[in-house]
């Protein structure tokens, strides 16, 4: 008796959610019906506002180039990224654009993707893989641009501390190295690496006191900034290399009443960082163009899925250059950003045509 009841009860209770799962799937596939669209995936390296902008670009790209786009944001690092990609491959995805979390050690996964479908990288490259191209910024150069902002903010020289989520990622390492090399006026060499635990790095005018990581823990990121203010009396400038670092640094500096005394240089386009630039509390920021990462990735993948290989850029690298945002151009940049990330744009024309104009415009200016 007992045995007969148990599965029946389980079935009854579980059929409800499971039935609704199947319902979701069916309604999705029905709504996507019609002409055959290539199915492509855009895989990020985590969840962040930066990627929300990229998602918007990818979705607009999907509309423009008639592709079904799956945007996947792994919450739990390498493991999630692997699982999501494998699940996409199992579904016969026709192209994957991925921002590999650790390109050097994810060779197996990248090889697996390349073996089954078209693989491109965005945001963070994996030059040793079989990826067809890389779409993104040169992180080392972007780091040097960030270092140049520090020099502008503190022309007389001084001490600098760097905050970053984690240094395991190639983009974080390269940005940090770019900042250090620029401050120390070294020749460009992206392969150089100053160990973070090796103590103060001293140059003629600037010295980098430390690099503090927080593992994406915002509480810790702010505590790091507060501790640095407490520890270094003569701290001249704080540099935050991940999007969420600068607003937390700004909070800490404000609470310590050291605005103006400690300069802040940011990376990425977090609203609080941009507001800080408007208010004059943040000197400037280096921004990438995540919208274009998403948009271009989908454009390339959709074309590749249709057999058009001419979209692969020469040398396998599509440079989406970083830009320096200071007080003089922050308003213009922010207005454009708000337009691109506006939620629920009703007119398809606005999303279908304008990114192309933006894309062309940028290619001309850069």
């Amino acid at each position: 008796m007992f045995l007969q009841i148990r599965p029946r009860l389980s079935l009854l209770l579980l059929l409800l959610p499971v039935a609704s799962f199947s319902g979701c799937a069916e309604s999705d596939s029905q709504s996507g019906g019609g002409e055959a669209k290539p199915k492509v995936a855009y895989v990020t390296n985590g969840i962040a506002s930066f990627w929300v902008i990229a998602e918007k670009g990818a979705m607009d790209g999907g509309k423009k180039f008639n592709a079904d786009v799956n945007v996947l944001m792994p919450a739990n690092g390498v493991e999630d990224q692997k699982r999501m990609c494998q699940d996409m491959l199992a579904q016969g995805i026709e192209g994957i654009a991925i921002s590999p979390i650790d390109p050097d050690n994810q060779g197996d996964l990248l090889a697996e993707i390349a073996q089954h479908t078209k693989l491109i990288t965005h945001d963070s490259d994996a030059p040793n893989s079989d990826r067809l191209c890389y779409i993104g910024v040169d992180n080392y150069t972007a780091g040097r641009m960030c270092g140049a902002l520090v020099k502008e903010a503190m022309p007389e020289g001084g001490s600098v501390i760097i905050f970053v989520g984690r240094l395991g990622q190639a983009n974080a390492r390269l940005r940090r190295q770019g900042v250090i090399d620029e401050l120390l006026d070294r020749d460009p060499d992206p392969t150089r690496y100053d160990e973070p635990g090796a103590g103060e790095i001293k140059g003629a005018k600037y010295s980098v006191l430390d690099t503090r990581t927080d593992g994406f823990d915002f509480g810790k990121a702010k505590a790091n900034a507060q501790d640095a203010i407490a520890k270094y009396d003569d701290l001249g400038c704080m540099v935050g290399l991940f999007a969420y670092n600068p607003p937390l640094m700004l909070d800490a500096v404000r609470e310590a009443n050291k605005i103006g005394k400690i300069k802040i240089v940011a990376f990425d386009e977090e609203a609080a960082s941009l507001q800080g630039i408007v208010d004059g509390d943040v000197y400037g920021t280096v921004v990438q163009n995540p919208y274009k990462y998403g948009y271009e990735s989908v454009r390339v993948l959709a074309a590749l899925a249709r057999g058009d290989e001419s979209v692969i850029p020469e040398g396998g690298f599509m440079d989406i250059p970083a830009r320096q945002i200071r007080k003089d151009n922050v308003d213009e940049f922010w207005t454009e950003l708000k337009r691109l990330t506006a939620v629920g744009l009703p007119a398809p024309a606005a999303t279908d045509d304008e990114p192309v104009a933006e894309e062309n415009g940028e290619e001309k200016t850069n």
């Binding site: 008796m1 007992f2 045995l3 009841i5 148990r6 599965p7 009860l9 389980s10 079935l11 209770l13 579980l14 059929l15 959610p17 499971v18 039935a19 799962f21 199947s22 979701c24 799937a25 069916e26 999705d28 596939s29 996947l72 944001m73 739990n76 690092g77 390498v78 493991e79 692997k82 699982r83 999501m84 494998q86 699940d87 996409m88 491959l89 199992a90 579904q91 016969g92 979390i101 650790d102 050097d104 050690n105 994810q106 060779g107 197996d108 996964l109 984690r166 240094l167 395991g168 990622q169 160990e195 973070p196 635990g197 990581t213 593992g215 994406f216």
Partner: protein, 335 residues
């Protein structure tokens, strides 16, 4: 087996619903991935079951996995010692961690929650400090011989020509072997019965002559050793180890698998087969969410709900069974 019918039926329903809703689900490629993931999580689930059975808990599993995953390449690549030395080190490390946990809990009478919570923080910090937060990789040639552990059976020596071997993950064989050993140990040996007995009532077990201290230490040692093995396998599979996050929350997945599989957090109950099913159900749900195109952000919600439903069903069934038994006994007594 009887005890696991509930979880088995949930697993089958989700499996069939996904197979029905997605053409891509029931393919050798996807099933291989699914079985491999389930196996890896099943292995650490079996480990934590040993401490849950003694009414303990181990919250440090994820951090220990992270530490083992970092220490191994640190020894082999950074220190350039042999693979054997690396393996010995992580074996020794897991062993020491288990013994220390067990002794703190039994000799100092500290609560398992507190001891292992401290472990969670200590091992994570050590892993990060040891390599200065550097990402550790398993792409080095030294690890090539071990990679077979996360490959398919056809890569094993002498198994290349076995039919279907390409579609069976080696991790699954490890899980099955470990599962059989664990099930035999728990159900067919006196020590396994001791563990179950002390989980139900430690005092009673002690008074009946069981050396409960030794048995509890043994449970934590088994848990840590299996976590160490899990750490090695996860690390080989993912290839890239971020010391600050690798293994985060794995203890919760392991505990959830054990609870779903019929382990009671009050101790004294647990079935190895159930734990394997519990681990498989969670991986299956994650896979189903991808395959059915359900919003990815809902993934933890769906898993949380299914675990809750599983536990509620289990509780209801137990109540009904107890009620029926009582009625039956009353009838027999009156007749």
């Amino acid at each position: 087996m009887k005890k696991n019918l509930g979880i088995l039926s949930i697993l089958l329903v989700v499996f069939m619903a996904t197979a029905f809703g997605s053409d891509s689900f029931f393919t050798p490629y996807n099933l291989f991935n699914l079985v491999e993931r389930s196996s890896l999580y099943g292995i650490i689930g079996i480990g934590v079951a040993f401490v849950i059975i003694t009414s303990g808990i181990d919250l440090s599993i994820g951090s220990l996995i992270g530490l083992v995953a970092v220490v191994f390449p640190y020894i082999v690549v950074d220190r350039q010692l042999s693979l054997g030395m690396g393996l010995l080190t992580i074996l020794g490390l897991s062993l020491v961690v288990g013994i220390v946990h067990g002794l703190l809990i039994t000799k100092l009478k500290l609560q398992p929650f507190v001891v292992t919570l401290c472990g969670l923080m200590i091992y994570r910090g050590l892993a990060r400090w040891l390599v200065s937060d550097r990402t550790m990789g398993y792409g080095n040639e030294s690890f090539a011989s071990l990679k077979v552990l996360v490959g398919n059976v056809s890569q094993l020596p002498g198994c290349a020509s076995l039919p279907g071997a390409k579609h069976v993950p080696v991790a699954f064989l490890i899980l099955v072997s470990l599962g059989i050993v664990a099930a035999v140990f728990l159900n067919k040996t006196i020590y396994g019965r001791y563990l179950l007995a002390l989980g139900r009532n430690e005092q009673a077990a002690r008074f009946s002559g069981i050396n409960t201290t030794k048995m509890i230490v043994l449970a934590y040692v088994i848990c840590s050793l299996i976590s160490g093995l899990g750490g090695l396998l996860f690390a080989l599979d993912y290839g890239s180890i971020q010391p600050d996050s690798f293994g985060n929350f794995y203890e919760l997945y392991a505990i959830a698998a054990a609870v779903l599989g019929g382990c009671s957090l009050r101790g004294g109950e647990g079935s190895v087969f159930g734990i394997i099913l519990g681990a498989a159900l969670m991986r299956l749900l994650m896979n189903s969410i991808s395959m059915l195109g359900i919003d990815d952000q809902l993934e933890p919600t769906v898993i949380g709900f299914v675990i809750l439903i599983g536990v509620v069903v289990d509780q209801l069934v137990k109540r009904i069974a107890a009620h029926r038994r009582a009625v039956l006994q009353a009838r027999q007594a009156s007749s």
